[in-house]
Symmetry: C2
Subunit: 133 residues, 2 copies
């Protein structure tokens, strides 16, 4: 089950903060909304609540109802969700070509020297894995 854009925003909060109440998720979202440029409009508390309820039904989050304030936790690891969304995005936007995506991501002069070095190292490791593993 893959999250929508709003659901993903909530998952980002849960991945960073760990198990979290509705109120804390809502406040985190609105802090981010206020910081973005131009600032996004604040989201009502019950909107966040409803989304979390729907996400629980879909299995995107689990919840602990033992306290009056329910505690929500992301059901899937961030990496797994990123992989899944990435696959879909690459299929839709780059005809399935991961390397096209990477070329586009690196090819606009935004990457720092550190990032480039890191990626080059990764590639070297991948090549060695392929050769020796």
């Amino acid at each position: 089950m893959t999250p929508t854009e709003s659901e993903l925003a909530i998952l980002q909060v849960l991945w960073i903060q760990g198990p979290t109440t509705v109120r804390a998720v809502n406040e985190a979202l609105n802090t981010l909304a206020a910081q973005s440029d131009p600032p996004d409009r604040a989201i009502g508390y019950t909107t966040t609540l409803k989304l979390l309820q729907l996400m629980a039904e879909k299995g995107l989050v689990t919840r602990d109802e033992s306290q009056r304030s329910h505690i929500y936790t992301a059901a899937a690891k961030q990496e797994k969700t990123q992989r899944s969304l990435l696959g879909r995005f690459v299929a839709n936007t780059f005809g399935g070509s991961r390397s096209e995506l990477v070329l586009r991501a690196l090819g606009d002069g935004q990457a720092t020297p550190e990032e480039l070095a890191e990626i080059k190292d990764l590639i070297t490791r991948l090549e060695n894995d392929r050769t020796h593993g």
Copy 2:
């Protein structure tokens, strides 16, 4: 103006085929739908027509009405659209970190040796640009 998922599927056809009639777009979409696994349901002709009409209103495509069968053309280059969608995707899914995206894209063992070599070359060129340019 950024395309929706269905609109993007149509743009992919237009980028590959160049200026195209509604019917040809519809047939291309349905060929792809039939090939995908599991196969997607076929899309009606008037659905494709309507989408193209809306896309023309939004400025995503231009159309030549000089013949009875209108001819549609993608308004933006594929690369520009990919950049724009990529920016949004990186922001939503990877907290804005392009290198996180790249690490994830390369780190699942799907990339071929040729792709890896190509990307390493690209990085080397980018590093040289930074040093000497």
